[in-house]
Amino acid sequence: MNEAAPLPKGNMGEPVARIDARLKVTGDARYPADLPVRDVAHAVLVTSPIARGRLTQLHTEAARAVPGVLDIIAAGDVDGELERPQFGNSGSTSIAPLHDRRIWHDGQIVALVVAETFEAASEAAALVRADFQAEEPSSGFGSPGIEIIPAAGASPLYPENPEAGDFDAAWATAEISIDETYSTPTQHHNPMELFSTTASWFDGDVTVNESSQNVTGWKNTLARQLKVDPEHVRVVSPYVGGAFGSRGPMTPRTAIIAHAARRLGRPVRCVVTRKQAYTTQTYRAETRHHIRMGAMKDGRIVAFRHEGWELTSRPDNYVVGGTGTTARMYGYGAVETKVSLVKADRNTPSYMRSPPETPYVYALENAMDEMAVALAMDPVEFRRVNDTMTEPIEGKPFSSRSLMECYDQAAEAFGWNRRTRGIGSMRDGDWLVGMGCATAVYPTNVAPCTARVRLTADGRIRVQSGSHEIGTGIRTVAAQMAAERLGAPFWSVEVEMGDSSLPPAPVSGGSTSTASVCSAVMKACDAIRARLFHAAVTANDGPLSGLAPADLGIADGRIVAGARVEAVANAMERMGVGEIEEYAEFAPEGSSADAIANLYKGKLEMRMGEEGAKVKYAFGAEFVEVRIHRLTRETRVSRLVGAFAAGRIMNPRTARSQLMGGMIWGVGCALHEATEMDRHSARYVNTDLQDYLVPVNADIQDVKVILVEEKDTDVNPAGVKGLGELGNVGTPAAVASAVYHATGKRIRDLPIRIEDLL
């Protein structure tokens, strides 16, 4: 068996290779900055070296004297031309760098230099000199001058703190208790593909080539900022070289570049340096947690309290808010939660793969491991005792929950029963061996989506939907869905995505795409089937004449009812059509009446896993083996095993890849990733891939992904639970658990580094 293409179990599709696999591995896939644009000018950003204050004067004479410089755009130059960016929905921040002279954060854009060549623009940008009236900045947690506000109500995405029962009373009854604090650091997106914007105007229409997870949202946001009708804006993003939330909300640069192109009367391209991306793009906020957990000696948790603090910028209330998930994870008894925002002189954080779950579940699962130790229980058995089919906040049933099945399958594959319980009891020469585990969870969200499907008489199928191939394999699974519903071979399907001129799809975030896009594609395909079936049964002389449409099926290019068959092409010929095209709108159960209209306007209406009569979550269990040198204490992850259940698996190959990638990212989160601050200046220090470490090949040895069979008809028509953000959720806590097992040191602050273990 090819391990990369696992054989499908029940409720799983075929492990077909990605539609774009060859393009990607041969370098033929074109990313936005690769798309050829005639006569393009090059732009380079000039950014602030201070984190707080005012820009008093910009000296551009020397820069303008550089041969080839075409334009310099600075504060004041966009007044009346460009609306201010907004925070929320499709916008990353309300900080309007060229509207205001106030400096809100380190590395804020203060000017844009446009030139004939990238080299001339870079040289000129280095010659722009800015004078500032600097003020003392607050860098974050613990700094003087920060402001702390309640998160509940500060953002429409976090209306209230979930709670249930009387925590204080239950806490008082607990026989064993845990009362600890945990933290996760700032983490930055470092996608392979650098961030870029290319804007071209033609006859009043603007086309923007930029990697995006939300072309429809951006089209509308950009139109508002440029003061043009959305019909005149097109956002194109055929491939994305690393998204994970970094290309979800649009940053202020996009409109600035579009404006620069309009002003210059010429296309403009800006590829942002990695260093500048640290301050002009978004990042994962650092968080702190205080967890109290009380249990009885038999292992039942009776009281759970999770308080979180999250960093955000001064002007924008970005809320991570992971208590919605941690409060529903186990059958706790009484639950109390609270989230606060810590406002400092920093750029606005935003989404990064499983934004709420990564930090919050890390804290919870670390506490679970501590409690298992305090109870002298096996950590797997401790979870089994507290497993529940009813979530504790509103008492709603889970639509499906295969958590313990995941634990059992992963534990067996990992060899958990070979683990000896004593701290440091397992050794391999000079290396201490530790084993640990943790739960992975991600809500099953779904969003309104549209798609157009066209079947031509030669049997070819074209699927169009303004979703985004961000590396997940969405084009491939959409093609699989169309092929299956229309009884056609996979290779006969072409899929167009990544263009705002296509029927709109939701933001590719929240692990919604497979569920939403496949549900819309399925609906369009079913409309085509209905037309074909109607033609087949109403024909006077056809082989299927007179049958009920409900009795028909479709396979191998033929409409089938038992032994009676008719070729699809024949049916179409009889219909007198060369093609059948259907456009479908899918709105999840419980959506508002305006859901599709809002989708066209770029307004997101995501239905979250907690909404509705049942709670919809995907679960997994992850096991980790670490090796730590007894003297020098570096941690190496020698084995990872994860088992995950996520409803229908459209494609075991792409599902495995996503989960494996997530687990590897989780190793980075556990051991490597952290953006370091210079606290006095509130500036990031390690702003490149030399000092911001992520795992490389040598750090990842043996990774095993198990897809656990699960069927869930409640989640959405496609029966799919998103799993793109599931794999990385459990890993950091599982690593921390294994480190504890090896060394006896309980590390509560990520990342776990040599100095923590010496």
Binding site: P49, E119, S122, E123, A126, K275, D430, H629, L631, T632, R633, E634, R636, L671, H672, E676, M677, D678, R679, H680, S681, V685, N686, T687, D688, Q690, D691, L693, P695, V696, N697, A698, D699, R753, I754, E755, L758
Partner: protein, 340 residues
Amino acid sequence: MRPFGFERPETLERAAGIVAAREDRAAPPPLSSAQFIAGGTNMADYMKLGVMRPNLLVDIGRLADPGLRRIAASPDGIRLGALVRMSEAEENADIRIGYPVIAESLQQAASQQIRNMASLGGNILQRTRCEYFRDISWACNKRDPGSGCAAMDGFNRQHAVLGVSDRCIATYHGDFAQALIALDASVETQSPRGGRTMAFSELHRLPGETPHVETQLMADELITLIDIPAKPWARRSHYLKIRDRQSYAFAVASVAVVLDLEDGAVRDVRIALGGLATVPWRAQEAEDELKGGPLDERTAGRAAEAAFAGAMPREHNAFKISLGRQALVRALLETRDMRV
């Protein structure tokens, strides 16, 4: 990127002469307006970042002298031309067998792609990877003399604990240099004033009051050869590199050991430390502690104490003292246990 001139001379004399003819020929080499370039892996990177701002690059990659590209092993030792690529040296059989510490230090440095480009001469002159040095928006005495040191009270986890001054705590990040220290290597140089030879351990200068002066070289002086004397016991030599991930990362701490054991006792030993000091660092106090005695975890621990007696930590790098000690103990034990 700033515009710059480019010259590609064919002789060493011409290359040195181009720099010698410039007005600022007396400037410390890092500040000179003319810079030599060989593999370019450090220079091109730092020019893009604006850290190096030469008006003229003198490419020595095409110099005709074949000795510059030769690895010559003899009973007297091994001589490495300055333009030998890192990957060529690490793959050389004489080096792998006779001087494993060299091969190990090179193999664990950078990436294969970089090692295919980078010259040995350039490698030993590589400049610090201090974050505050590499981003020109920070104050840095090494980059802009007299501007201050942002690292001193900034985020200084990766900074040096040995050889520091109140002007600079930037770490010397190379790996190969530690092997050269431990092997008592020397370097030969050429300039318009002629050739000279110096002990490798004297090539680098402590930052002191002038962190921008990094070596004894003049701006128009080129390293031509690295000379490693024969040392039969160099077969028992080892480079241990501790880093935050498994590969392609600079050392948090590293140790080069060359060990002469006789009947379990240390007859002679050379120890160099990397990732911990401002220059390639010989731990002579540790060597003295070990000489003549048995080598076990206890004696190694005493040597490690001695090696860090003068260490000066800052806010975030105190762990490097304990890590450095542990790394030294581990490296000594691993070297002792080598089968040679």
